[in-house]
Symmetry: D3
Subunit: 245 residues, 6 copies
């Protein structure tokens, strides 16, 4: 049994509140256990300079935590005057992951920025951000379809993410903060609705891991991601129809 | 009648959700109309270097907006690598205002940082931040009392804030974004529970204002602030007992 | 009696030296007691990108202090690599105040930058900067008239500023540094020649103030500002003709 | 056949020149094909503030490319005034990987900084940096043993890294730049001498990958890493004796 | 004849106003023709961390120009967020030059910072800064002697600086801005009262120069520097007694 | 005799390896004793904005040291977030020097950037950078000639640099690090193939120098520079034909 009473292969309760923000083209509040992230999708009718005139769109992401999302207050990166390495790594990951779920050609010359702001952190903030950002992206794309700026959805498949790890010798799904602190191996996995891998990032800083452990971690992640995708479908409701085969 | 059906002397609906954040010593979500701010109070058992050894505490504030709190997405200040002038001005105002409601001597050598993160903006974000931060501060101080780190409350009086302005020739209380954009005169007022002024900041960039207008604006602000303080008392519940001499 | 022998309603000696700088389109050295500020107005025949093509001009201000303008040397903001909050707040105030004294439409698509560099500080540097910058602005506009870049003056009224405060229980006009350090209430007021308010910024960080005190402070400020405007007229000499409707 | 005539499971020629730098405690020039990286290990007899007094050491890494290491000149990050996200991500990876090959307790309260400076880039710069940095680290630790600052080696195992990818439908080992640009899937793997995984980072931004592809990539990486470790042993010569339990 | 009517070997009129600033331990306004620089010397009773406990003092310098010191307004370095290369080069030069005129051992563990703020620029701002800063330094040291913090002057010799150049084929002393723009060769020289060189910086970017030209430039500089030292002596008055062995 | 057995008028062994970098248009590794610098020349077919449309080219330089080029590791300027004063001073010197050896008109509207990266430092890094960068520049210009982007070489003369100094009372040529640390006078000289001066930068921070010492230093520098130019000719081989009128 785990510290919060879950089975090893069980995710925490997931709640996705659609259209959480008044102004954004797409938005959700996603809660995975005590981890809470506001994800918004903002559409701009232009692309970065290096992509101009190619007829392709762009998806990018930014990630931040409120200073008191964590047990101890963190100094704001705006106050420090620069983004930390962890933030950069995470926002690059989110952007890369989301781009793999959409056809940039079909999106056309526009940019969608996914902002993932962690309101409260209890482990898994980057994977929760990806899962939530996908839903926000779908809502924003749906607005483009409704406004007839797009005639066909560029979203190619579902996309979600979970963390897995080895804690006290056990492969565990969806680690909370306490588990994450104790994990010997820590892995973030992003997969599509069709069960293909988009990102696999496993690290055994404190303890290298065997091929057998890697296989068990991937199997566990697959279970968790399918469960996340079910929650995405519920939150999307009729908008789920725009996610392509 | 105003653009949202209010009377000229009427504030928007105010909702203060206490203990909104799991980790902070004090926190609220404050909603004034469509403006939503998360205010947290974080206690540190030390003071800035320039205050060490004086036996006095410190109150400081930080303010930020989520990039999509507004109609058009704003670039993050962390990405720009520096705080803008507006942010600095606002966080200096919040800190100064809150310090006037507490005895720093009675607080003892510790720092309370008030983080005001605007989730959604529709005018009045700085005044809403002050009103919410006061409640978060009270909850944090209450924790110090409960933990017997303080034996007596250092909070000297209630403190709240509203905006007032002259819109289409009418003195209006608690401007929303649309009104704020049209206002000829714009004033932010911070007052105590005893009806004294802590800050008066009025600006008539587009149109200088007369002494009569100033008097009417101050009278309107007083009405709004008393109404805000009622909401603070409700949100504080029994904790309200720690306020005042 | 005050620490320098003045009456409560008396400003310090004011001296405005016109055309203090060789290169600037307009410039003064303004001395209010021991506070000395060089104000220059620089004309550029373009506006910031966000204003292009609207046919309107722009007025902006920058403020700085020499490192040894003060009793203790201050580190340069250029060396720190960023502007402090106080500087940003002041330069935003100066710009906003000056814009209220000019018709940006009548100015046409050009920018006038007002640089206020405090050579020596003894209280009231921001109000002195506004009073001096107005004169520099008039000289620069006069040059535009002389060069026939403008056919009609866009300056709509006089504009000056003073500080007032409550020191040892007395409302005092034009505080020097020592008084400012002891003041319970501190207020900066900007007014037009016609006696209208452009900015009112009062703060009672150490001690909230009553409505009666506020009224007395505003009355005192009005006296001081009228006296400052007299000095501006003397310094402008025949150029004074370009001011007002 | 590949664009440079290699088999799919063949690495490029590897050359490790030990003691390449005069001043560093440990250093190599590592060449993997046309990719050339100078790796130095610098010992400091102190640890970062957050680790003081715990009796443990620290390993950290920095990564940079000469501006003309690449086909098109890159602007220096020192000139831009900040590290890019890619650099931060890579130096975090190198540091994390190297820490897994050493007992920080056995190292004692000292820091070893691994600087990886890419002189010339042709794909695989981060994996080459890890492989080279491990050798530099061994030389530096050997110096500590020789100087009797350590009585027992803290290096627990060999550690090396390669990239693998799917290029034109084929799993390829050790991609050069041209292959990397065409790869549908790109994976960096770090393994120990005992064949355990330290890092697995696979990304299929342009095309999600199946479990079968993942298995094939990992198998290929294992071959490459064993070959890298052979080269490390040759370069270390008698110093190889300090590696492992 | 030169553009302002001077002989080739003649400096512009020099005026040094002592004690120009109220707060600084030493200060002058130095005017060389239309070039005007405020130089202040600020004493701190501590040295930079790297010099602690050595019993030696430190002299450092900072240099800046008001934005409208020049014909076209320059953006402030504080606004840009960093010092330019030219500023850094100049302030390093001023500090190095001044350190050569004082015994750091005899100064004792304290720092004197020389701030050179160019109010108006017309060529020769760095050489004028050095000449003025020397006088400000002497006044500050004199204060240390008067306050009995020093019993013996650490100032070892006079120190002054001028520019020389080749303009229209003629070696000219003390170039103004117009001459400087046309100069083929530009040289800044710093010398002591005893006629020794402290700095010689000659550059022929547009046209390399011969040994004969170099000799003529140095001879001209020597004349100018002796003349500057006469002006320093006048400004120092009785304080001149503290200079030299 | 000197610390490394050289005569006072003897340079250290010089080795210039041409075409050291695969990607750059021109490159060398230059070794002067234990000082090693990679110099690359990168051509861009555009000029900085302020030079557009004038038909002239631009030469600029950047300089950096690997963190462990020195005995003690230096923090990277990219990590600090800004260039230090020494770096700025040096790269300004290199750029200025190289521009004097080429006709910018004859180069046409293109920019050549000279990157000087110090791999290992043992004194004289700035002079070695200039000597090496000249050769890299020639190779890059030769590529423009071969590609028929230029029909005639814009290189007007050879250009090289050495340091000289007064060490233990002796004028010494080409100081190594140990000598440099002990030098009373330190001078960097840049000369053309025809024996004209481009830069003379002498500093006697610890001890002012006489005219006789200056003359001896310049004579020594001339010997060293002629010897450097011989090495440049060897490295250039047939490309030497593009130098000079």
């Amino acid at each position: 049994m785990r510290n919060d009473g879950r089975n090893y292969q069980q995710t925490r309760p997931v709640k996705i509140t659609p259209n959480y923000m008044k102004h954004a083209e797409g938005s959700v509040l996603i809660e995975v256990g005590e981890t809470k992230v506001i994800c918004t999708a903002s559409i701009e009718e232009k692309v970065p300079p290096f992509m101009k005139g190619q007829g392709r769109g762009w998806i990018t992401a930014e990630y931040s935590m409120l200073p008191r999302a964590t047990q101890v207050r963190n100094q704001r990166e705006a106050t420090k005057g620069k983004l930390g390495g962890r933030t950069m790594e995470i926002q690059r990951l989110i952007g890369r992951a989301l781009r793999s779920a959409i056809s940039l050609e079909a999106l056309g010359e526009r940019t969608i920025t996914l902002d993932c702001d962690v309101i409260q952190a209890d482990g898994g903030t980057r994977t929760t951000s990806i899962t939530g950002a996908f839903v926000a992206l779908c809502f924003a794309v749906n607005k483009l379809l409704q406004n007839q700026k797009l005639s066909k959805s560029p979203i190619t498949d579902y996309l979600a993410s979970v963390s897995v790890g080895v804690v006290k010798g056990q492969v565990c799904l969806d680690l909370n903060y306490e588990e994450d602190s104790q994990a010997k191996v820590d892995m973030n996995v992003v997969m599509t609705g069709q069960g293909k891998f988009v990102e696999v990032q496993g690290t055994g800083e404190d303890s290298p891991f065997t091929r057998e452990e890697l296989d068990a971690l991937l199997a566990s992640a697959e279970i968790g991601i399918q469960s996340m995708i079910e929650k995405q479908k519920e939150a999307l409701g009729p908008v789920a129809a725009i996610v392509g085969s």
